[in-house]
Symmetry: C2
Subunit: 257 residues, 2 copies
């Protein structure tokens, strides 16, 4: 698709934060764009040329950021919207789609490309073994955009079905109690020894990966940059003496329905 | 960790099959290894130097492949185990962990690195919009490694809870009826209009992405190389006239628990 006349929007996943985990496709998409919209810390990761322009915005302004990017593209410009991780996982790709659907008709004719990235749960899982080695889900713990009761319902449903859980957006200053509540709820369903992985800043210099049995898991182990993986009853730990333990979920399950 | 004495195993995700979606980290890990173990078509993607050795094996031989790779590393060699997509998602990272757990004690002291990759559902989602924009799960439809009843239980649980579903391993010659059964089961839970995305070979020259309402979804639309994404009741399509429709799941949910 040639966007020369109608403008172009690339929604780009920059991965967890390590330059070696940015795909060549993402780097090429960055090189091809002029205007860069994104949450400040993500835009700040980019090393841009003098002819490229950063438009940073706050974390919570996803829709207005998407609208600004689309409006700029509608002027015939080449625009990038950047996300950490993968843009399709609790990030800007859905916000851009929402803005297109609700926006002026001409936004529908824009050339839109979405460039996938390594999402946090994959990066965290890789640092500890293979906790997502069998059926798993990704759930956002933020009740800004859905009712807390729905989050509880989903956590119960997936844990009861033996599906490993990756929690995104586990905690923030405005949402201090939700993670503790989630651990409480899951402790009634899963074995007390179920491994809980707190993966902070995987692949970055300030990386911190901790494993705690569910019974001892504490919300204070997480912050906004943490992705939490909660195993199933079948998730195992392999003690390796001098090396960090491996945590994995076997490919097979003998669990009964 | 320096593996000079004890040998080293890198479990490497090569992404969906497009060279531009292989991370620099994965390319560096390939360059650093001597022995390459993997399913034939994945090993064949590698462009190796004359001093590097391919050991291809069949699709179903995951454990024996992992054991062979670990045995070679235990000789002090630098070994790579390659997977398409991400090695932690229904792939070789779990098989390597299983082999370490069941294997001789010296395998536990091997230096093991897992290099994440773009997994199929992320690549497929990016080609169509943002169907994984809110809570989602990844479920393997293969009943080689778990009972079919458990798969049905999990599909019912996640669909009933409003979680989008990515199906891996949807169909094979030995498993011809399972996907049709899954569609039947889901059609009793989800609206007939729920978008079903058949994403085959995303990002490769033979890519084919189709969207079908659940009521018309047919197992013949899939093969072994297809990742299927089944929306929730909230997943939407945006008609764009001359351009392909966008399919996305909004970041917010008003669904009641």
């Amino acid at each position: 698709m040639n966007g020369a006349k109608s403008g172009h929007v690339a929604v780009i996943g920059l991965g967890p934060g390590n330059a070696s985990q940015v795909t060549p496709e993402a780097s090429e998409a960055v090189a091809a764009a002029k205007w860069f919209y994104g949450y400040g810390p993500y835009v700040d990761r980019l090393q841009l040329r003098p002819d490229q322009v950063k438009v940073a915005s706050d974390n919570r302004e996803e829709i207005s950021r998407a609208q600004a990017a689309l409006a700029k593209a509608a002027e015939g410009e080449r625009v990038a919207v950047v996300s950490g991780g993968d843009p399709g996982v609790f990030a800007m790709a859905a916000a851009v789609c929402e803005a297109i659907e609700a926006g002026p008709p001409e936004w529908r004719s824009l050339d839109v490309t979405i460039v996938p990235g390594i999402t946090a749960m994959l990066a965290v899982a890789a640092r500890i073994g293979a906790p997502l080695g069998h059926d798993f889900c990704a759930i956002s713990l933020s009740d800004n955009l859905k009712p807390w009761e729905l989050i509880e319902k989903r956590l119960s449903a997936v844990a009861s079905a033996g599906v490993v859980i990756a929690l995104y957006n586990p905690i923030s200053k405005a949402r201090p109690w939700q993670l503790g509540k989630a651990f409480e709820l899951l402790a009634k369903i899963l074995p007390t020894t179920t491994p809980v992985i707190f993966g902070r800043a995987a692949g970055r210099p300030d990386e911190k990966i901790e494993v705690t049995p569910l019974a001892q898991a504490d919300a204070s182990q997480a912050d906004m940059a943490t992705c939490i993986i909660i195993g199933s009853a079948e998730t195992k730990m392999i003690d390796r003496g001098g090396r960090p333990a491996l945590v994995y979920t076997p490919r097979f399950s003998a669990a009964s329905a």
